[in-house]
Amino acid sequence: MTFRKYLVLAGVTLCASIGDSLLSRGMKQVGSISLNHFSDLILAVLNPSVALGILLLLGFFASYMIALSWADLTYVLPATSLGYVLLTLIAKFFLHETVTTSRWIGVLLISAGVGFVTQGPALTHNPAKCQEAASEPASARNQP
């Protein structure tokens, strides 16, 4: 894992959490959408918060695709869940919301999960890389 790769993971985390909160705010402004008015759902993108949220989610998608090109799905998903922790910290220190004890426990659990997964290897199965490894001499593979 290089510094650049950590930056990509940070991009996934930031874009997803900020994008989601903007979407949530925008959809509350738009209000309830019924199945009979399906077109309302498409018009919802005209709301500025929804539009900006979608833009950030595109940024999320790009960095997510880059991360998945060199890391396992079961590595990328937990590693980028720090966004939830970030949202809680923003709520506490910038929006001055009350954060309950159970939420702090949630923050601890997520942080522990991120700690667990990032200590392991980023990639465990890649058909292309497996073939390369098989063609390498055994001594090269055994080196730490």
Binding site: M27, I33, L68, L73, T74, P78, V107, I110, S111, G113
Partner: protein, 126 residues
């Protein structure tokens, strides 16, 4: 009735986003390391390879389905139920699907990570 709507939205989100994640992960492994490929052959080669990959296109379709199910769900039900329930369940279904379909080595460390994050997400909404 609203509750039933909410849970069917959650089920749709979890199913669609797990399918999407697995397909996209497989597609990107087939495309190769984006950073390296970009340096060697440029951004258009990367985009070309992605857009010609059937798994990528199906993955995007599944993700779009998940996204619209989420928008529907958010407008019907409580955001405090739908967002954490679907996010939390997706961490677990993804760990199972990655093991089954992507043959990732989901060891104790990764199971712990998936379960801790899933539990943490539920607690954050409590």
């Amino acid at each position: 009735m609203k509750q039933a709507y909410a849970w069917s939205a959650i089920a749709a989100i979890v199913l669609a986003s797990t399918t999407g994640d697995v397909l996209l992960s497989r597609a990107m492994k087939q495309v190769g390391d984006v950073g390296e490929l970009w340096r060697q052959s440029g951004i258009w080669t990367v985009l070309g390879r992605m857009l010609r990959n059937p798994n990528f296109l199906l993955g995007v379709l599944a993700m779009t389905t998940a996204f619209y199910s989420l928008l529907f769900g958010l407008s019907w039900g409580d955001v405090s139920l739908i967002a954490p329930a679907s996010a939390s369940l997706t961490f677990i279904t993804n760990a199972i699907a990655a093991k089954l379909f992507l043959h990732e080595r989901v060891d104790h460390r990764r199971w712990m990570a998936a379960l801790l994050v899933a539990g943490g997400v539920v607690l954050l909404a409590a």
